[in-house]
Every structure is written in C-alpha cells, then in structure tokens.
Amino acid sequence: MTDGFLAGPAGAYAAILAMAVATYLCRASGVVLMSRVRLTPRVTRGLRALPGSIVVATVAPLAAQAGTPAVAGVLIALATMIAVRWELAALFAGLATVALLRALGL
C-alpha cells in the first residue's frame, strides 16, 4: 500500500483504526502485564502524573499559538471551573471570552 491509498478517504479511517488499536492495547496491557510483573512505585507515580501533564502540555502551547483571546479564554474557563465546578459553564465562559475579545479586535 502506498501513500496514494492513504491520501484518499481511506486515510482518515486508517488513522481512526490506528488510534483504536493503540487505545485497546493501552486498555488491555494493564490487565495482561500485571499478571506477569508488578508495576514499581516509580512507574505508578509517572503514570499518575500523566493525565494532568497531557492537559497542560496540550493547552499551554495551543493557547499561546492562538493569541491573547485564547489565553484569556483558557484562564477564564479555569477560573469558572474552580468557582462552580461545572464543565458546561466553564466551556461557555471560555468561549464567550474568546468571542468577545475577538469582536473587540484583539
């Protein structure tokens, strides 16, 4: 198979399938591996730090790249979530901030 095959509509489904296989292996490997080896405390701590690290490593560069309104939107969403603990409110507050600042020409 060549890149020509992937350049067509099949490409997106190949990517989705690759994601699905990768995710299934993550789901299954914890159960399978534990039957054979024990996760060390160090590995456990590393995996525990992963979710928050992914969020920060994704959000900070994307917001910085998108400019001032996006950075402000992210901070407002964070503040709203801390205040009311409700995803929908945080999402709308963040998006409203971005829309408003962009309308103002920032």
Binding site: A28, A70, L91
Partner: protein, 231 residues
C-alpha cells in the same frame, strides 16, 4: 477458582451509578463533535472514532493532528499521541487486574474495551465495598459508550451549522475544554509539580520542533518528573 459473576442486575446497577456523570459526558461528547467539524472530519468519521476509540481526551488531541491527506508517518504520529494520552489506562487496568483475572480471557478482552475513567473509578469503589460482579463494570462502561458515541452526533450537527467558527471561538474549543478538565484532576500543589514541568517542556518544544511534537515532549517530561520527583 470460580469465575466471578456477570449478571444483568449488576450491569443495570452499574449504568445507574453513571447517571450523575451523564451531563459531563454529554458536554464532552458534544464538544468533541463540534470540534470535529472544524477539523474536517465527516459525521461518519467522528462517530466511528467515538465508537472505536472511546477515549475523549485522546480524540480531542488527535483532532489537533488531523489532516486532509494522510501518510503512514502521519498515521503513526496520531497513533503515538493516542498511546501517550491513553497510557493512564495501563495503570487503570493494572489496578483492577486482581478483580478481573479469574474471569475467562475472552470475557476480559471484551470487558477492557469498555474500560474508561468513569467506570474504572466507580468499579474500584464498588469492589472496595465488597462488590464482585463484573456486570457492574461492563454495564457502566457499555452505558457510557452508548452515550458517548451517540452524543457525538448532535455536537457535530450543531458545529456544522456555524458558518464562522472562529468568531464564536470554536477553533479553540479544545484547549478551553481541556483547561477546565484540569480542575477535577487537582490533588494539591505537590502532585501538580509535574504538570508545570510538562507545560514548560511543551512550550520549549513548540518553539524548537515542528508540528505537534510538543504534546509528546510535554507529556513525557511530566511523566518522568512524576516518576523521579518524589525519590
């Protein structure tokens, strides 16, 4: 060792335990659907991705890497990023392994497909309180899978109605939604130190490396920091 039970009653109980989480899942799935429109996915692709991957965070991050024309390196890159985002599932699976292990392998192979943060957390509590029926875990996972997969559709259709997504800020919906997700993950400043390192590493990688390599660099830096900081 006798195989642990898997009953319909426990599955229904598991699904009921998920009800308080329903608004959050609906918002997340809708947000994913709306974000998918902007990145050029078809409705079918968005729904198939939700159904086969069933991992919201990884799907959101993958959207940032989405493209019109694919190549093998691009497919490999999206698979790598997906693996890193979902590597936390290794820990989740390992934690419930003693509970799952006595069941037949084929049954567990199906069970783990529906393993997700919410049913894992609910299942861990259920097991700690003496529950042993695997139906609880499967029922909760299956229920959330149905909600997640089908709620992608209204999100996509709503997103498709918007003619100028940038004006509404929808192009940055993903980082905004992700930022809010950080709050429930917060367990004190000490455990958040790796996050700061992840953020700094990602910003440095963004300046130095092409594409979306910063996600991998930041995530790996945070994981290493988490592993090493408390030694």
């Amino acid at each position: 060792m006798a195989s642990p039970p898997l009953t319909f009653a426990a599955a229904a109980h598991g699904a009921r335990l998920c009800l308080p989480l329903l608004p959050g899942v609906l918002v997340f799935a809708t947000a994913f659907g709306a974000a998918a429109v902007g990145k050029g996915l078809t409705l079918a692709q968005a729904v198939v991705m939700s159904g086969l991957v069933y991992g919201g965070a990884s799907q959101m991050v993958a959207l940032e890497l989405w493209r019109d024309a694919w190549s093998w390196p691009a497919v490999l890159a999206v698979a790598t990023v997906t693996t890193i985002v979902n590597a936390r599932m290794i820990l989740m699976g390992a934690a419930i392994q003693p509970w799952l292990a006595p069941a037949p392998k084929a049954r567990n192979a199906l069970q783990v497909f529906f393993l997700t943060d919410a049913n894992w957390l609910l299942g861990s509590r259920y097991h700690a309180e003496g529950g042993r029926d695997h139906g609880m875990l499967l029922g909760a996972g299956l229920f959330l899978w149905v909600v997640w997969t089908f709620a992608t559709i209204p999100g996509y259709l709503a997103g498709a109605l918007v003619t100028d997504p940038k004006r509404l800020g929808l192009d940055v919906l993903m980082p905004i939604f992700f930022a809010a997700m950080l709050v429930p993950l917060w367990k004190g400043a000490r455990l958040a130190r790796p996050w700061a390192i992840a953020g700094l590493a990602a910003l440095a990688a963004q300046a130095l490396l092409p594409g979306y390599a910063f996600i991998i660099v930041g995530a790996v830096a945070g994981m290493l920091a988490g592993a090493l900081l408390d030694d």
